[in-house]
Symmetry: C2
Subunit: 469 residues, 2 copies
């Protein structure tokens, strides 16, 4: 086989412009079927959900070689791209030469033709990219990342890397993982008997970040608009289909945006991502719609159709109380001051308004210290974007720009000033109105793929008792 012949990606070959030409296709065997005269091999190379049909005339190929071509094997094929006579594909490759790169013993290869449960595939996360489902999901994941970078780049916002290892634990977003190089069998101790973190790698106690927001704000107060896109961590012992210990987050932070501008940005942003998916991933989305979630495409179009409803928390509570009065049953009680549960959010979105909702002006007690206090002294300019099926997809706020108010709120919430001296500096010197929000990347992917378990939209999920691979 001619090693120097350029490889053609199956996605490109399927477009049909190369019909009549000799091409070189490489990929993994999905299925092989046929009769005594001819074999049909469905080959996939990851460039598309669609396989290329390889037609091998058995008169031209060694039977021993052909018998090695089983599901999961990797082969290279040279042949002529022709219009297909069969149903199910428009073009196929009439093979003139086949090279086997790697076999896959049918007796042990875990991914045979038959369907597998998602649970089983999680146990072989190193092989699941070879399935149709996960090829689809990882391609969509890629496209959503590119959409995000493109959106912000076009706005003139800069991609900014917040640190992962942090000595700060004031964000209040959740439990943290400790990062250390101390030997647990010979921990250094202070005179008082405490672990002496001055001897640790960073000379202090350090953890994995739960958010890059505070550092991102420092950059926004100089560069104008920035966004982070990086991993964040939560050490909560939450074994649910919605929680990961390690996940990716996008956090734009923009100077001179007030809460209304922030809502505009969030709505434009998420619609841009969904539109990108429909424009660029339709083959993959159709596969998921067919196999997992018949309503997926309708749900994606649903969020594009109308402006999101903008709703103050207080009004939202009134609607939910009204619903309860009219006989709607919720698991969790609803009252002014309560943190909304997913059931409440979904009621507002799916039943009451039938459109995504941006809820604002939450009671200050249930939100973080850095959110801008409203004139009523009771509510803050937080905003959550609520979506069908998944509830909260974005959380953000206008930030408190006033130094004195910020210090007062930090004190109220028990955040020590000495831990946020640098954050306070941004309000001490040249403060400006600014806003931002966070989007959990995997939450977005749950929405765009229609998958129901977050472990299926990240390549190697980290959850309690699970860090394999």
């Amino acid at each position: 086989m001619d090693k120097k012949m350029k490889r053609t990606r199956i996605a490109d070959a399927l477009h049909g412009g190369l019909v009549g030409q000799e091409i070189n296709i490489k990929g993994w065997v999905r299925t092989k079927r046929g009769n005594k005269a001819v074999n049909f091999i469905a080959l996939n190379d990851g460039s598309t959900i669609h396989n290329m049909q390889i037609v091998a005339d058995l008169a031209s190929f060694d039977a021993a070689q052909m018998s090695q071509i089983t599901t999961g094997a990797c082969i290279g094929v040279i042949g002529t791209l022709v219009e297909s006579q069969g149903a199910g594909q428009s073009v196929e490759v009439q093979a003139s030469a086949i090279e086997i790169y790697g076999t896959a013993d049918p007796a042990t290869y875990p991914l045979q033709k038959k369907g597998h449960t998602l649970e089983f595939l999680r146990e072989i996360a190193h092989l699941r990219p070879r399935t149709n489902t996960f090829g689809v999901i990882y391609r969509i994941r890629h496209h959503m990342a590119i959409a995000i970078h493109t959106f912000f780049h076009n706005k003139g916002y800069y991609y900014f890397h917040a640190p992962l290892i942090t000595a700060s634990d004031c964000e209040g977003a959740g439990q943290m993982f400790q990062v250390t190089t101390l030997n647990p069998d010979s921990l250094p101790r202070t005179e008082e008997g405490q672990v002496d973190y001055r001897k640790d790698f960073f000379g202090r106690h350090t953890s994995l970040t739960v958010s890059g927001q505070l550092e991102g704000e420092m950059a926004a107060m100089a560069l104008g608009g920035i966004y982070t896109f990086g991993p964040t961590f939560r050490a909560e012992n939450s074994n649910t289909p919605r929680h990961l210990a390690e996940f990716w987050m996008i956090e734009p932070e923009v100077a001179f945006l007030e809460i209304e501008d922030n809502m505009d940005l969030a709505e434009e942003f998420i619609k841009y991502c969904v539109q990108w998916a429909l424009d660029n991933c339709m083959d993959d989305i159709s596969f998921l719609s067919e196999h997992f979630d018949k309503e997926l495409i309708d749900r994606l179009k649903f969020v594009l159709e109308k402006p999101f409803v903008r709703l103050a928390y207080t009004e939202g509570i009134r609607i939910l109380e009204e619903a309860v009065k009219n006989g709607v049953k919720f698991e969790f009680p609803i009252y002014w001051g309560a943190d909304l549960a997913s059931e409440h959010e979904r009621y507002l979105v799916e039943v009451h308004f039938k459109t995504p909702v941006i809820m604002t002006d939450y009671p200050k007690e249930i939100k973080s210290f850095y959110m801008k206090l409203n004139d009523d002294g009771k509510t803050v300019r937080g905003m959550d974007v609520l979506f069908p099926k998944i509830g909260e997809i974005i959380g953000g706020s206008e930030r408190e720009a006033d130094y004195d108010k910020l210090v007062a709120r930090a004190n109220e919430m028990g955040v020590p000033e000495k831990d946020i001296w640098w954050y306070l500096d941004s309000r001490r010197y040249g403060t400006a109105p600014h806003s931002g929000f966070g989007l959990g990347f995997e939450r977005l992917l749950l929405f765009v793929t229609g998958m129901s378990n977050i472990r299926d939209v990240i390549p190697f999920p980290r959850t309690p008792n699970n860090a394999e691979f």
Copy 2:
């Protein structure tokens, strides 16, 4: 001041198309000078290195307000964009209204007009984005990230997220940070008295990854081509201008690429990034050239000019031995089997070839277990891209695709098979020739910015005894 008037970014206003129009500019004061009749304010909003000159006729503004406009203050200005009479700028804004968002007390604001050392600025990493130098660096950092995504996206390679928290420590790339939720004051113990990591969050001992390569290969063996772009960690106690404990790495991994293809990819990739910088960041690069590194632009063009020299390690050693014979002095000894030091790499690039060098076919003893063994049984298909000033900028290899050879090499290098069962599966089932490499993002930035300390090209550097902010 009209709150609803749309803000114009200074980068856009400076293009001049808006001359004669009333615009709204917001940003931070770099300097203010003037006389009794008029003040000139240099305003920067992060959209460009260039400031907008604001002209304030003192007859129209309150003296008390004007006195608050000092270096570091944040203001909004409405005024008419006019062609400038003064030298140094083509347009300026004749202010009709000024709003002060935040003052910056000259008695305490750390960034006064005078120059600051880079060492001092590292201590106020939360404020250094407000300097010209770091505005420039973070904009270039953004552009290089966008260049990287664009390059791979255009090739049809997928952005793939390898896990950060890992139970695997077989890559051999360096010391690792432990990740734990165990309470050091009440560590669970096994019957044998060891720390019982089964009680830790993930049910086992976990660390921060040193590379996403092995997981990336799993994806390449299904999706064809992927790249990672994420943080990686090294716990080495290296307090040098070239080392970080937390840094970002780009690791493409591509099926069906052999070593020559891999060299082509690396060369095309890095030239693409450098060309992008010259095309999109010239104002910022010119600033760095003027203030830090007069040879910067020449060095950037240098790598674009010629094909990189491709040189086998054995031949490289011969050249270096010849140089020693001719009187060249190196600090470290040179002999076949030695790991090259930066001085050797730079000699080859800067003195001998006067072009970047891709060195290949290293002795297997000094490279990782996963590199493809050559037929000589002594060398492996590793490749390092060597650059002027910084030495190695990329390290990669063709990967060992043969199951038996890979197992043998793992055993030789002391990598336990039980720890890489999943990695070996990729060679057990449908293996394929494939290659990849790693580029340290901050190494690229050192090259593109000409900065000499790696702590100055990442927003919040993490190094021994340093995790502030």
